[in-house]
Each structure stands twice: as C-alpha cells, then as structure tokens.
Symmetry: D2
Subunit: 362 residues, 4 copies
Amino acid sequence: MTTVSIVNVTSYTGSELLRLIAQHPTFEVTSVTGRSTVGKRLEEIFPFLRAGVPISDGRRPAIDPTLVITEEPAQTDLAFVCLPHAAAAEAVVKLLQRGMKVIDLSADFRLHDVAVYEEWYKHTHPAPALLESAVYGLCEHYRQSIAAASLVANPGCHTTTSILALSPAVAAGIVKPDVIIDTKTGISGGGRSPSLIYHFPEADEDVSAYGLSGHRHMPEIAQELTASAIAGGHPFEQELRITFVPHLMPMTRGILATCYADLKQNGVEPLITTAEVRVLYEQYYKDEPFVHVIDQPPHTKWTYGSNHCFIYPIVDSRARRLIVVSCLDNLVKGAAGQAIQNANILYGLPEIAGLTSLAVHP
Amino acid sequence: MTTVSIVNVTSYTGSELLRLIAQHPTFEVTSVTGRSTVGKRLEEIFPFLRAGVPISDGRRPAIDPTLVITEEPAQTDLAFVCLPHAAAAEAVVKLLQRGMKVIDLSADFRLHDVAVYEEWYKHTHPAPALLESAVYGLCEHYRQSIAAASLVANPGCHTTTSILALSPAVAAGIVKPDVIIDTKTGISGGGRSPSLIYHFPEADEDVSAYGLSGHRHMPEIAQELTASAIAGGHPFEQELRITFVPHLMPMTRGILATCYADLKQNGVEPLITTAEVRVLYEQYYKDEPFVHVIDQPPHTKWTYGSNHCFIYPIVDSRARRLIVVSCLDNLVKGAAGQAIQNANILYGLPEIAGLTSLAVHP
Amino acid sequence: MTTVSIVNVTSYTGSELLRLIAQHPTFEVTSVTGRSTVGKRLEEIFPFLRAGVPISDGRRPAIDPTLVITEEPAQTDLAFVCLPHAAAAEAVVKLLQRGMKVIDLSADFRLHDVAVYEEWYKHTHPAPALLESAVYGLCEHYRQSIAAASLVANPGCHTTTSILALSPAVAAGIVKPDVIIDTKTGISGGGRSPSLIYHFPEADEDVSAYGLSGHRHMPEIAQELTASAIAGGHPFEQELRITFVPHLMPMTRGILATCYADLKQNGVEPLITTAEVRVLYEQYYKDEPFVHVIDQPPHTKWTYGSNHCFIYPIVDSRARRLIVVSCLDNLVKGAAGQAIQNANILYGLPEIAGLTSLAVHP
Amino acid sequence: MTTVSIVNVTSYTGSELLRLIAQHPTFEVTSVTGRSTVGKRLEEIFPFLRAGVPISDGRRPAIDPTLVITEEPAQTDLAFVCLPHAAAAEAVVKLLQRGMKVIDLSADFRLHDVAVYEEWYKHTHPAPALLESAVYGLCEHYRQSIAAASLVANPGCHTTTSILALSPAVAAGIVKPDVIIDTKTGISGGGRSPSLIYHFPEADEDVSAYGLSGHRHMPEIAQELTASAIAGGHPFEQELRITFVPHLMPMTRGILATCYADLKQNGVEPLITTAEVRVLYEQYYKDEPFVHVIDQPPHTKWTYGSNHCFIYPIVDSRARRLIVVSCLDNLVKGAAGQAIQNANILYGLPEIAGLTSLAVHP
C-alpha cells in the first residue's frame, strides 16, 4: 500500500481525490488537512462519504469517513496538494523537505519561466528554485519525466482540454501559430467557496464569458503548445498568437473546448482533409487509455465522473481552418483523475489503476 | 403617480419589485435603500436594469437604473420593506411614524399572537403594538381590510401556496383538522446571499428536505387555516394538527405545494367526490384574477415570472383523503407580485395593475 | 466468469447495467438485444462506451463497445430483462425455458396477486404461473429467497425508496396503518423515449405532480409494507391506508421519498422519540452495506451514480407523526444497481461486487 | 386594433407570440392555426394560458385562451408564420395573395440569392419571385424598408446575435474579413418537437457543439455582414472568411455569441483600443431601445423573457483581435420579440409597443 495525504481536502479537487482513491487498489488516504475545518471528521464535511463505512463482510474501501482533518499532513509516501496558488508552493516546499513525493494541483509549478508566472499571478513566486525540477503533469506528453519526478505540477481543466485538442495538429505542423480557444466549463471548476457568481439563482439558466482581458491559463497553454511544436519537429516560425476565452455553463461538471486554428495551405486549398486529420489524431493517441478520437461532436456528459477525454477534429474547408472540439470532466481528467494517473506513473502502476469507471450517463 | 421606496432593494424581493413596478401604470420608484451597497447606482448591482434606460421616443419605464442606493429611504407615499425579520420591524416603525404606508415582506407582522412569534423566532418582537393594526396581506381573503390598512404583512411563498390550496376545503368543512403540507421550492426563495447549500454545484441536480424539526411558516399557515375555517362557518372542533415539510428543488423560481387532508366521511365513503370538490373550489375562486382551479396537475413553469396561481384538487377515494396541488412563482405571487397586488388594493387601483404578464413559458 | 445478457439494452436501465457491469469482477456481458436497433454496435447507440475499448496494457473492461445488438439473446448464464411490462413477461418465460436465470426489471412479477396486477395494469397477465416462484428482489428483505430463485422481480425506484424508509417503523409496530408517501424523482426514471413532458424546455425549471388518480407502484408498496408488518410481528389491524403521489423534478437522477405515518400514541404523547426511532432504524439496517441511517436530511446528490440509500427518520412530536426521508439514485439502487446486487446474491458473491463506487459529488 | 393570425401556433415561436401580444396595446390575435391540433382550444395545448381568461373587472388580455385552432388562417390584417422552411414559403404566398401583411419567422426569405438558398437548404425554393420584395427583418438595420414592406423575413437567434455583435466593427472598417463566431444557445431554439438530443436526461448537464460541417445560418450572417461593410463605406476587399460553430447549452432560453475578428493593424499595434471600440459601438447603437453596449461581459439571464440585447466589445491587444460577446433571449429578440418589433414598424407604432418588459431575473 502507498500512503497518501490530501492537503486541503475540503476543496472539490480534494473530495474528488477521496472519491477516486476509494476505488484504487493500492493507495490509502491516511492524512487529510483543512483550514477552517481542523478537528472535524471527513463525514461531517462530506456526509455522502458515510456510505464508505467499513462493512460487515470484512472488505473496506480505501477511505475512512471518520478520518479527522488536521492542520498539518502526517508523514506519507505521497501528498496531493489542493491549495490555491502561492499557499500551494509554500506547502510543497515543506512536503518535499520531509521526503514526500508531491502532486500539486495548483498553478504554482506549471509555468517554467518565473517571470511569466509573476506577470500573470501578480506576486513573487514562493519557491522559484523548484521550477526546474517540477514536471508538467500532462501524462500523455511527459510520462517518462513524471515517472522520475519528485514534484508533479498537475495541469488544470482548461489547459488539459485545450492542449490535448491542439497538440497533434501543432506537432504535425499543419496549422499556423494562430489559435483561438473558446472553452465552456461547468461551475465546479470555480471551487467550493460560495460567491454571487456561483449562487444557484444567478448561475442557473445562464451562460457568460469571463477573463476576457487575459486569463492565467493562457500562458500555460502557450508554453505547452510551443513545446508540442518543437517535440513534433515543427517549431513555430513566429510567436504563437493565442486568444483564450472561457465561458461559464449552467452545469456542475464538464468542460468543452472549441479550438480554431488556421490551417497551412497548399496553394488555395487547405493542406489536409478532415479524413486525413482524423487519421493523424488517431495515430497520435493510439496507445492512450483515456484519450479517444471520434467521428462526431462529443458531449461533456459522456465523461461525467470518468477520466476520459473525447476529441473531434474537423476541417472547415471553406474557411481553411481546423476546428477541434474536445471535452472531459473538469474534476477528473481536468484535476483529480489526472492527478491519480500521475501518481500511478510515479509508482510504476498501470495508468488506469483506480480510473476504470465509465461515465455516469445519462 | 404614487411614489414608492424599496427598503433593502438588493434582495431578490427588492429586485423583483423593480421589475414589476417597471410595468406599473402609476407607481414610480423614487428611493431605494441598501446596506453594504449605499452609494451605488441600481445598474451597478443589477446590470440587467440598464435595459431600462430612458429611450429616444420619450417614453421611459418607471425604473431609473441610475437611481442611487441610500441608507435611509426618502419620503414617499408607500414603502416596500424587504429586510429580514426583526430588522424589518424596526424599519417599519420609523416609516409609519413618517406617515408612509408600508407593505412589509418579512414575517414580522404576519402572526397575530406575539407569544407565538417569539416562540418561533426566538427573539423579543421589536414592535408588538403594531401587530393589532397590521393586516395579513393575502389579497384573496382580506382585501377589504387591506384597503384600509397602513401596514400590510405580505405573506411568503410557502404560506400563500398552502393557504390558497387548503382554504376552500377548510371553509367548507369537508376535511378534518389534520393536514400534511409538502412543499417544493425553487432556490431563489432562499435569498440572494451566497452559501454552501445554494452554491450551484451543491444545489444543482439535488433535492432535499429541510426544516423538519419545525419550520417558522407552520404557525402562520395554522393561523390562517383556522381563520378560514371560522370564516366559512366550520370552525375546527379540535386544534389543527399540521405537518409541514419544505423541500429544495434544483430550479430558480417556482413553488409547488402538495397538501393532504383527511376527508370527513359519510359512513365509509368520503364525503365528497373529485367533481364536487372541483366545483366547490371553482366557486370559491370564481372572481379571482390570479387564482385558477384546473383539471390537471399544474406545473410551476406555468407561473414563471407571473402573479398567477394554479390549484388542482382531487379526492383519493381509496384513502379517503383530499389532495390539493397548487403552485405559483415564489418571487411573484409568493412575494413581490402579491405585494404589488396589495399596493393596488391600498390605492384603489385594479388589482391586476402592473401584473398582467403571462408566464414566460417555456 | 458468469455470462450475462441484457434484453432491451437501449433503455436507461440497460445502459446503466453496462456501466455497472464494466466494474464487476466476474460478470461479462456477451449478448445484448434491442428492438429498433438490431444490427448496430453498442458504441453507435452509446458513444460514451467507446471509452471502454480494450487498452494497451492488456486489461480490458467487461464491456465490449463493439458488441452487436441482436433481436434474441444468446444463451448466457443470466439475463437482465429491461423491457416494459407485458413484453417483459413474455421474454422471461422464454429465457427460463432455456434454463437461464432471470432478473426482470419490469413490474410483471412484483405483485403476488394476479388480480391486483390485472386491476392496475389493465391487461391479462402473460405468465401468471410464474408469480408464485418469482422472488421480490428487495435485497434487504429477501436475500435468502433470492439466493435460491430462478426469477427475481427487481423493484423500481419509488418502491425501493419508500419501502426502505417505512419498513423499520412498520415492522416495529410503532405506526398506524396510515401512510402518505410523497416522492420526488429525476427524469431518467421516465425512460429513454422522448416525449413532450420530458422535452428539456418543458421539464427544465419545472416541478409537477403526476399519477394522482392512482399510481401503479402503490399496490406494490402496500404489499411489501404489509409483509414487513407481518415479518416484524406487528401485522396491521386494519387494511393499510396509503396515499402515494410522485413528483417530477428538473434533474436527471435521484429520487427522494418523504413518508408520513401516524405514530401510535402513549396517552397523548407519541410512542417514541426521534432519538429512539433513530436507534430502531440503525439497528434494522446495521449490517446493510448500502442503507445508511443518518442524523440530517439527506440529499439525492449524495447518491449520484452509486448504489447507496440514505434514510433520515424524525418524529414530528407536535403532530404525533413519524416523518422519514429517504433517497437513492433511481437508476442504481432503484433499478440496475439493485439488479446487480440481486445477481451477486444469486451467484453467492459479496453483495457489493461491482457496486463499490461512491457517489459522484458534486 | 390590428387583427393578427399566428400560423402554426403550436411551435415555441407561436406560443411566444401569444405571450407577447397579450401585452400589446393594439394587436389582437383572432386566428391561430395548427397541424395535428386542429379543433383544439389554445388552453388545451398551453394550459398556462388559462391565466388569461377574461376577468371580472371588465379588462381582458389580448389573448383568448378558448380560441380554437384551425387549419387555415382567417382573414386578418397581419399574419405571423411559424412554420418550418419550405412549408412557410407556401403559406406566405397564399397569405400575400389574400392581401395580408406577413412576417415570416422561417428562413425562406432571408437569403437574397436563390442559388445560395438552394445550396444550403437542398430543395427548390417554393417562391423565388418573392425574394426580391421580402425585407430582411433586422430592425436596427432596415427599419425604413420594413415600414414599407408586405413581407418581412424575420431573422433567427444565431444571426441576430452575431450580426448585432459584428456589424459596428465591420461598418467602421476596423476588422479584416476574417471572423469566427462561437454561439451558445438554449434548447428552446431547437423547437417544441421532442427528440433524443433534447430529451431532458440527455441534454441536462451537457454541452456539445453541432453543425460543424456547415450550418445554414452561416450564409445569412455572411450576407448581412457584407451588407454592413458596404453600408458603412468599408466594403470587404476579399470575400468574408467566416467560421460559425453553434453549441447547445443545458438551459431553456438565451443565446450568447462570442465573436472573434482580426483587427486591422497600425504597424504592429492593433488599430484601436478597447475604449475606442466601445465608443464606436455606443455611437452605433445610441438610439436603439433594445441594444445595449456595456462594459462587462453580459449574461444571457439578463435577457430572460425580454427583447433586449447586450453587447460587450473588447480588444485582445496581445493577439490583435477584436472579441465581441453579445446575448439575447433566443425566443424574444431572436424570434417572436423581433417579429413584434417588426410588426410595430409595419404599423407605424412605437417599436417598444408590447415589448417593455424587463428580463425575469434571477
């Protein structure tokens, strides 16, 4: 068994880790921390966990609902850090010093360039020295580095959805460095703290855009698409021009990215057809257990509660653009599920361990 | 024109009053107060009101979106008080002293018996002397008294729905004093202050009961059903035995009450048939512009944004029970719309003035 | 491995069985039938199943998304029948004749008395001879008989929720034979066939009651509560008087029952306190892996996608009534999950096999 | 009074016309037609209309809920045609021959070029001779022509939202003829006929893209943006390159368009700042009663049930793009409300007649 701490378990990424680890064959949560909830039992915060109480035939799930929330994590093999940025980095430093492996779900170690971090997050990075050794935890791209890492910077939902959608095209050099990403996200992505914008009567039956003057996930997407271009042997000839606009949807889970990229041309024709681009995508993801290239527009509900991602590429031949629609569950492949997948890689386990559930549909 | 103040306009009942008064032929909102928003313009709090800006052809709506929120209301003919209980009573006292008529949307003046109030609200009533002159603002029952009142205690959504559903049966003496009321309410009934229970990811796709150990609206329902029994010439022979359980629904607006009452019997048969009870109900409400007795189960969405109430009575002959299903929009007939209807009565206007909209359906 | 057929897989109970069996250690779906979809692959009907394609590390889920839908089921150890009533009975007869064990998710074999069936379902029972040997598949009550059965009549969601809520009280003899059951159900309970009442713009933001003139699940609830009373040694002294009103909620999954029963009295006091009734309920369900007695009103979302049921009993001492609120996922414990639990019992497996998932929350 | 027919009243645009005309000072609905519902009264199809029954004080709404649905419309001054394309054109021909004015809510007369129509709609146009005299009913652009028209081709929701968002920029010549339009629409836009994609359990908690291989509203948007460019004195130098992707949202009403256009440049800088573009937009719409340029991202819920449109333009200076977010209620300004506005223009009434309601918010 591998012992696991969840730091700031009272976040939605924290409770989602509990839910998933309850299905995991070898991980066991032995320590959970909180901030205003220290001293409470997990089941007091998350009553649905009472369903996990040890049962009469001797089997027990990996989550003990009576586990008491503490201020500091116990010594465990692995820690998942679910704190907001800045607070996360400070916690990570301490955990690494104690010899624990860390998967950080915040944004603190995702950007390689400290100057970019400080420009977008408007504060001094608490632990810049760790940026070099931190590995970006997009499993599909970095599994070898992840396997050897101490600190994994787990990507968020907007970035995972967007990068998985565009990387095959960028790596193959079929598009110009000019992309627009329009994401539609469920409200759980905004976290567990109540506020007017997430108050049911305001958010229900409502759609809106946000972050139009510049969203923090944009530089992360730019960093990784640029890396994909290089990895594919087709580095961008100009700096990537990227517009990213997230939208809030009246639903709890799910994120869908609609990505638009200018196709390179062969004379007046686009370089590639829909059929060809689909083959290219299928080839790129052929060995991936969680990424599925399909031939129809995907629905976020196909991923509800699961670690799967669906991708649908199509060529708009009139406008010579590539359109890629991708979707996943923002709390699973976009957060806690990918964190488990990273942990599986860290511990040499099959990547699907604990992540075999299909979507809850309908 | 009648000048109107809205005290605590930043509540949902406050903004709903704005929306409805914008359609009113003779009311004009000239003063709005708030607590943490003093100094702001209405349009800063409610951006959708910008659609009300005076327009080029000279017409203007009754709401000026640039109206500035103040701490104290200006002198106006009428004030709607949208404060929580206790705070409401204190404001009402001052407004009456200034010679203004008041429609109070809180619970402070709904109960006639100060002891019952203090038992359920757990604090000393701030203005018990006013209880005698306050008129319970259920228009269908008290329009004559309302017309002559200075202070109208506007009923809430659970009570309006339940009392309208059960009063005809109680007044006709066809049921025993033994009722169960199971209400299903939209989340806007919980107000505009964010909290975890109303946080979208928690409330969406969820149904739950609350207030099971005793809900404050229960004594109010008991008071009014007892009054209906007396008014109908069939006073209860025993104290009314009433169970009231509200439930929270994953929707913004609408409330539906399912009411169960033991029918008196004629030997082993129930006293009355479904057809007879429908005639009785139709007769009771035959002159009411906003209460509609129908022959099929009603839907809350039939009332979305309107001041209408639908009522469906049926006899469960196997169990010798009367079942009455009623529904309305909790923010309109259950709050602000009924308040306007009361104001129309106060000023001798047609009761439907400003309230002629049909439901927004679908 | 146990081979499994799903008859009429294109229903929601059918697809839910696929989802659950994909997590089951020993069941394998080798045959699926449909009606208008014969010849199609599962993944054409349910694209989200493509996420189940066999993956590179050799593991495969128990569901093959390329399985072709046939008209008749193949010979398998076990069949789940997801047909509507009447059609179900006809299929069951044939399957039993072929020596297969059958779990029928329709209503055809739930009522013991053929006359009651024919009164409520308005047609001649297609296989009355089987009624005697069919076992009512409420696992908590009949696991011994189920273990020995060839044909299990799997209960539906309204009945499971209601019976689990009221049986402990009925068995203990603390309530009179006079109950009201008010259920609130998600729309997936209405099945996968589109119709105006389930059309999104009609059902969204709407609550309504239905089946008020007599719902088919009522005699089933009456049958089982009467059995519970006898089993507990407190048979009803009069015929059970029961009112049952289901309501449609604007959500996909989940059902919540609010049950009201008159408590027997000890003089003018109710016979029992909330604390005592909770102990009684905890005792009744103490060995159950899926039924959890709790001390706060439960939320349907606590059960989303899981086989768990939460029950909250409370005494309304003013009205001398027992109120019990219970909830579960209508497609899992209220249909496919309970069917798997029954199948586990049939094959001598731990009841929780394949059913260990916690709710997807939020 | 102006007498009005509604052809195919059982559509959502039909019932929305009823709702709006009920508030109109001079329009009276005297004839309604249907297809499978001939012979029924309006209140049988739309029970919520029973709230419109004539009331005791002598006032009556403009809608009579007992009006009987006929196969053919009566002779009235004006007809609104709510039929699907092709069927609409056939009906329009007959109505014009009878001397009635017609507002057609279908797509049949929106495209000026019959060849483009036949390419996208895949059938021969039933009345090409009328294309020349039909006026495109975007009130903000064509009110003078509309005033003199016999036949108005009322635009749909995707097109209205998109054209209002982009026209000011196109007319001012600040953007290149290269745009991407990503719309998010509520499900009522798909009409009142049930189908699996709009079945509540499928559409709830789900987001998806559709029409990616080419959506019929695209040529209409292209036609009108090209016209705006010419009208503004900045005709496109190349053919407009346009990508349009609609998305389905889990909500009933509302549409939001996020429009992306390449800004012309002044050297390496974009030609214009956000502040300048906002002034340009405010100037463009300064006399419009229903179009509001605002300084924050708008929410679809700000338009629920109203005829208002909110527009938010912003410059993405990093990527040198103009982003414009606009929203409205798809059934009001995107269909029936705009049709009433067109009818007001036709009859020389104030444009806001019958359309003064604010949004129902929250």
